[in-house]
């Protein structure tokens, strides 16, 4: 995997810290909750921005793969993704919603690419040779995992929106990030 498609070491450290503090805060640690609040405000916008950037780069790589560098196809896919982002994110999305939208779009594109590659391989090889069952299992595992993540991404975005709608404090928290 290329380095530009990975989170930086600093972002990883912050994520680990966010994860640890979330666990402690959920377990009732008030001190951890206060530290989490500070970290969410100070660090998470940068981590969100970095993750969103990775999403865009990953999408670009997937577009290149699926279009086989055909300019017209690339254009069409870019436009399709632009429309998807606009439809899914809606008006005035918070940074977290933007990130979750990117996750949905990237997940959708990945599933499309994997399905295309896997089915093309079967078509190409149907007369040449029989694909071994172990190989089919491995391909299916990768595709299944991508599909599961894609569906989870949709559920997560819906959940965040639902919770935001019923909780003004949360909307304010995210709007702070937007500013």
């Amino acid at each position: 995997m290329s380095g530009v498609l990975e989170l930086s070491e600093e972002a990883r450290e912050r994520m680990a810290e966010l994860r640890g503090l979330s666990e402690k805060a959920e377990a009732g640690d008030r001190n951890a909750r206060k530290r989490l609040r500070r970290l969410v405000r100070s660090s998470s916008p940068e981590v969100i921005a970095e993750a969103s950037d990775i999403a865009r780069r990953a999408e670009w790589m997937l577009v290149k793969t699926i279009s086989a560098r055909e300019p017209l196809m690339e254009e069409a896919l870019q436009e399709r993704m632009h429309q998807m982002r606009a439809e899914i994110a809606g008006e005035n999305p918070t940074p977290l919603e933007v990130l979750l939208t990117e996750r949905v779009v990237a997940g959708w594109l990945l599933v499309e690419v994997l399905e295309g590659l896997v089915s093309a391989q079967y078509q190409r090889d149907v007369k040449a040779h029989r694909v071994p069952p172990g190989h089919v299992m491995q391909q299916s595992r990768i595709l299944e995992s991508a599909t599961r993540r894609y569906l989870a991404a949709i559920r997560e975005l819906a959940r965040v929106r639902k919770l935001q709608a019923g909780m003004p404090v949360r909307v304010n928290t995210l709007n702070v990030l937007a500013g």
């Binding site: 498609l5 990953a58 990130l99 995992s145 993540r149 997560e156 965040v160 919770l163 995210l174």
Partner: protein, 113 residues
């Protein structure tokens, strides 16, 4: 009788030269034991041996192609997995910060928050 050469696993091959003649044998696994099966002599030995080498090389190349294909699929999926992981951590941090906690996979509001 010749072994079944169409089996998925190619047998080991050996050409032996005795008294100026070529003899070709295949090593075939039979349970725990490995048997040496006579295939042919002279020009036939050479043709069979070359055929086996070609088949073996072809299978190895095929395995390498399949391995490369899987690595390619995994490389495409990796950044999206990274993104998913980051999103999950961030969403959880925001929700916990906003006074939610997870209970049986669902987020619920903590009354005291």
């Amino acid at each position: 009788m010749l072994p079944d050469f169409a089996t998925s696993k190619p047998p080991s091959v050996a050409i032996e030269r005795r008294d100026g003649n070529l003899y070709y044998y295949r090593s075939v696994r039979d349970g725990e034991k490995v048997r040496k099966v006579y295939v042919g002599a002279g020009e036939f030995a050479r043709i069979f041996a070359e055929g086996d080498i070609l088949r073996r090389t072809g299978r190895k190349a095929q395995r390498e192609r399949e391995k490369a294909e899987l690595e390619r699929l995994e490389a495409l999926a990796a950044p999206v997995e990274e993104l998913s992981e980051a999103a999950e951590v961030l969403v959880r941090a925001h929700l916990v910060d906003a006074g939610y906690h997870r209970r049986k996979g669902e987020y619920r509001r903590v009354r005291s928050a």
